[in-house]
């Protein structure tokens, strides 16, 4: 058992490598990642580097997952399109769901465009709910591997279990 039930469920679903940049909405998930064995968690300096490292880990034979704030999707677009989508490399992603009208200004523009952005590139996504982390973890792995694509689980603050 780690500090995050969601991370435990993702590990149970087969995730063997995580790279990411923290978000305050994903505190529990990142606390769990910090406890993973050596070689299983990469604290990335920016989100594009995180997803690129995941591609390398997938080539190496691991189920590799990225975790980040939704603002990081902007940095990731070039790599998601010209690496994961073009080479057909699966990538489960746990992305915080920031940008509600009550959230801080810096989160609103990209936050409120996140779903349209994912739709534009044909990346499947789902909103996480508290208590549904086991089924959501299975969906995330299946959605990314079946179509060999990035797939995104959007996690609000209340769903960081």
């Amino acid at each position: 058992m780690s500090a995050s039930r969601r991370l435990d469920a993702l590990l149970e679903a087969g995730v063997g490598f995580v790279a990411g940049v923290p978000c305050s909405y994903l505190k529990k998930l990142f606390a769990g990642c910090a406890e993973l064995p050596a070689g299983c968690f990469l604290p990335a300096v920016r989100e594009d580097h995180a997803v690129a490292a995941c591609a390398g880990a997938w080539l190496g034979g691991r189920r590799a997952m990225a975790a980040m704030q939704n603002s990081g999707l902007g940095y990731c677009l070039e790599v998601l399109t010209s690496l994961h989508l073009m080479y057909r490399i699966p990538l489960p992603m746990v992305v915080s769901d920031r940008g509600a009208p009550t959230d801080y200004e810096e989160h609103r523009i990209l936050g409120q465009s996140t779903r349209r952005l994912l739709d534009l590139f044909g990346i499947p996504w789902r909103e996480a709910r508290p208590g549904a982390h086991e089924a959501e973890s299975r969906w995330l792995i299946e959605a990314s591997e079946h179509e060999r694509t990035p797939a995104v689980l959007l996690v609000g603050k209340e769903a960081d279990v």
Partner: protein, 187 residues
């Protein structure tokens, strides 16, 4: 020395088990032409991600990972140096084919003419970093680099001009990824 000759020499020093990650553009094409291998991954696009992709492999594989990078490419993804230096994978060997410019787009000068990439790597935490300026010492420099304790970065200064450009790699991206993964995992 031309970049293509340097790539050919580097590949000739590697063993069958080594895994190669080749930068997008000319470096991938030259690596394919010089010595295609099932354990070579050719990047198309994703400029700046050579070190990050190599790091993902280095963290998940026991074999030696050899990243063939460009100077402009490394500068675009400079944060990748910090990740490698921070994680310190002993099996990551980073070669920068440094022509001091963006050759593919017309030879526009790059900041590698003033930024010391080997010193930056050591500052980031690589255990070995050297710059090689002279043609006659290239082979010895590569041998020292591959014998060093990793992560190790060799910044190799090469010609800006390439008299014999290599053609594109005749594989689909999906084939490129599948082949490497299959070679490493056996399925």
């Amino acid at each position: 020395m031309t970049r293509a000759v340097a790539v050919t020499l580097a590949l000739s020093l590697l063993g069958e088990g080594d895994i190669v990650v080749a930068a997008d553009g000319a470096i991938s094409r030259e690596a394919y032409r010089a010595r295609d291998r099932r354990r070579s991954f050719y990047i198309l696009g994703s400029m700046g991600q050579v070190a990050s992709i190599a790091l993902g492999l280095a963290m998940t594989r026991p074999e030696r990972i050899v990243a063939l990078d460009g100077d402009g490419n490394l500068l675009m993804g400079f944060g990748g140096l910090a990740m490698v230096g921070g994680v310190k994978p002993a099996n990551l060997y980073h070669l920068v084919l440094d022509n001091g410019c963006y050759a593919t787009t017309g030879g526009q000068p790059a900041l590698s003419r003033v930024v010391d990439l080997a010193a930056a790597a050591v500052g980031a935490g690589y255990l070995w970093g050297r710059r090689c300026l002279s043609d006659e010492h290239v082979r010895a420099a590569m041998e020292s680099w591959l014998a060093a304790k990793g992560p190790a970065l060799l910044d190799l200064v090469v010609d800006a001009e390439e008299p014999d450009p290599a053609p594109r790699v005749p594989m689909t991206p999906e084939e490129m990824a599948e082949r490497v993964r299959a070679a490493l995992t056996g399925n």
